[in-house]
């Protein structure tokens, strides 16, 4: 069995050297689907993360968050008023 090339003995006659030649159409369709899916998922995840962040800042106090950011970074700590892993990152961690 071979997924593509089984001999390099006649390079002048060899064309495509990737496995499964003839499936290019399928691969291109899969590429398109992956591209569109990625955009949709990224936008959904980001919307949810931004909504959560805005709600947190309103609840916690925007001024307080901003002041703490400055104070924490001035003292050498990491900035941020929220320590969970779900945030404004484009990839939402549930």
């Amino acid at each position: 069995m071979s997924t593509g090339i089984s001999s390099w003995s006649n390079p002048a006659e060899i064309t495509a050297i990737y496995p499964f030649p003839g499936t290019e159409w399928l691969l291109v369709i899969a590429g398109f689907v992956f591209w569109i899916w990625w955009h949709v998922k990224q936008i959904r995840d980001e919307n949810r993360a931004l909504k959560d962040a805005a709600e947190h800042h309103r609840r916690y106090g925007l001024r307080k968050t901003m002041e703490e950011n400055v104070a924490r970074t001035a003292s050498g700590e990491a900035a941020g008023s929220h320590s969970s892993s779900s945030g404004v990152s484009p990839v939402h961690h549930d």
């Binding site: 291109v28 980001e46 931004l50 008023s81 990152s89």
Partner: protein, 471 residues
């Protein structure tokens, strides 16, 4: 590769373009440093993610459809020409065997990558204007629009020896003042208009406030790295070795992207002299501000790029200097007059400089052959060189063709599509971050601070911005 010389030329050309691709990566290292340096600390991780993911998405879409667009849309005018179906266009279709490892095709992937790196540049330029307020999702769609659709249409029209803008209008833009920088600059202007300024950028009387970069040194360093990557870009715009003589009398030499003769020496002289002109002018107009001095150096190269294959080095120097001085003034005039917040000066450095560079090249290179005429029998129009031809019958470079070309680049393919798409996102509430997130910083909700162990000083603007928290 049927002769020894043919084999050496093919292998040399393949390796030459491959090296340009590696060099052009430096543009993106530089752009990232520049953009991150200009961003305030609270948004850095978001800026990095947005920039890098733009490159990833442009790469995928460049494979799926953009490379084919470059080869298929040469005929015109506009979209009124037939779709090209020659061997190059067919080989660029994503399902073609040439779009993969192929023992009889050494070069397709290398050409594809060289043009991809141009596309990265076009899309990444736009990334800077949206910092600290644009949503990543909206920007990524706009990045794909600019990097994988609009710029490649203009490249097919005006950056290809058989493009209709070259054949009919005599358009000349050797190192992409218009086809990359003006179009990206037009898109920047559209995005920043629709987005609006960052909260607090303008006071109640409409006077702009300075929002200092979090790290001016990093931004300056990024600009110098961009210069380094720009060498690769310039090299990739040339055919390094080809017969520029006749079939009977072989004469090997380099050509520009329109297959018209130039030399690698020309681009070397003029790249450095236009950079010098931009830096020297920038130093004075900005009163020694290093960020703007270096940006003006970049604007000097971008402005002279349209004709840097043919200018005298002193001409390149003065074109670079004049354009750098003008765009610096324009940036602040536009900011004051129209309340446009362009945090990295991209509209000016890329858009205005690219536009002016194309216009100036039309005058300075007036009458030069733009490209060898091709058979137009299946086009909607049949006459080459609407605004003049050379004695040999070649379409001639001219001021009208380049002026119209600059408008097509900046306004028609640069500004308009991005404006429309940004408006659509805005209508759905998906363009700009919520106010709370913008003020607190996109990185502040999650522990994304890239400088956990460094102190920073509160700037004057941070105090002003704090006042908006209670509004």
């Amino acid at each position: 590769m049927d002769t020894e010389i043919g084999a050496i030329i093919t292998i040399f050309t393949e390796f030459y373009y491959w090296v340009t691709v590696v060099m052009m990566f430096l543009i993106h290292a530089g752009l990232l440093a520049y953009e991150v340096g200009a961003t305030r600390r609270k948004n850095i991780s978001q800026t990095i993610n947005r920039h890098v993911m733009t490159l990833a998405l442009v790469t995928l879409t460049w494979f799926l459809f953009s490379w084919w667009i470059y080869w298929a849309f040469n005929a015109g005018p506009g979209f009124f020409g037939p779709v090209i179906t020659n061997e190059y266009a067919m080989a660029a279709l994503p399902w073609s065997e040439n779009m993969g490892p192929h023992l009889q095709d050494n070069i397709s992937g290398v050409f594809w990558a060289a043009f991809l790196l141009f596309s990265w540049t076009a899309a990444a330029i736009v990334s800077g204007v949206g910092i600290e307020r644009v949503r990543t999702g909206a920007f990524l769609v706009i990045g794909v629009l600019v990097g994988s659709v609009t710029w490649v249409i203009d490249a097919s029209w005006g950056w290809h020896a058989e493009g209709w803008m070259v054949q009919l209008m005599g358009y000349h833009d050797a190192y992409a003042s218009g086809v990359i920088h003006a179009i990206a600059g037009g898109a920047c202007l559209a995005l920043t208009i629709v987005l609006g300024p960052r909260i607090g950028k303008f006071d109640r009387e409409g006077r702009p406030r300075d929002i200092p970069p979090h790290n001016a040194w990093m931004a300056c360093f990024g600009l110098v790295i961009i210069y380094a990557g720009f060498w690769g870009f310039y090299a990739a715009c040339n055919i390094p070795i080809i017969n520029i003589g006749s079939e009977d009398e072989l004469r090997m030499g380099a050509t520009n992207i329109y297959l018209m003769p130039t030399t690698l020496s020309s681009l070397t002289f003029n790249f450095l002299m236009s950079l010098t002109g931009g830096l020297m002018a920038g130093y004075f107009v900005s009163r020694g501000d290093p960020y703007w001095t270096l940006s003006c150096g970049l604007a000097g190269i971008i402005g002279a790029s349209a004709g840097n294959d043919l200018y005298h080095p002193i001409q390149a120097l003065f074109v670079g200097a004049a354009i750098a001085a003008v765009i610096y003034k324009m940036h602040f005039w536009v900011e004051n007059r129209f309340k446009i917040d362009d945090p990295v000066g991209a509209c000016a450095v890329h858009g205005y400089a690219g536009f002016l560079g194309v216009v100036i090249a039309g005058f300075l290179l007036w009458g030069y052959p733009a490209a060898a005429p091709i058979d137009l029998s299946d086009w909607w129009v049949s006459s080459h060189g609407w605004f003049g031809t050379t004695p040999d019958g070649y379409p001639a470079v001219n001021p009208i063709g380049n002026f119209l070309g600059a408008i097509i680049m900046f306004a028609v393919l640069g500004f308009l599509p991005t404006y429309v798409v940004a408006k659509l996102f805005q209508a759905k509430g998906l363009l700009r971050e919520p106010r709370e997130v913008e003020l607190a910083g996109a990185d502040s909700y999650e522990d994304l601070d890239v400088y956990p162990n460094f102190a920073w000083a509160e700037s004057e603007f941070d105090k002003i911005e704090l006042g908006y928290a209670d509004d």
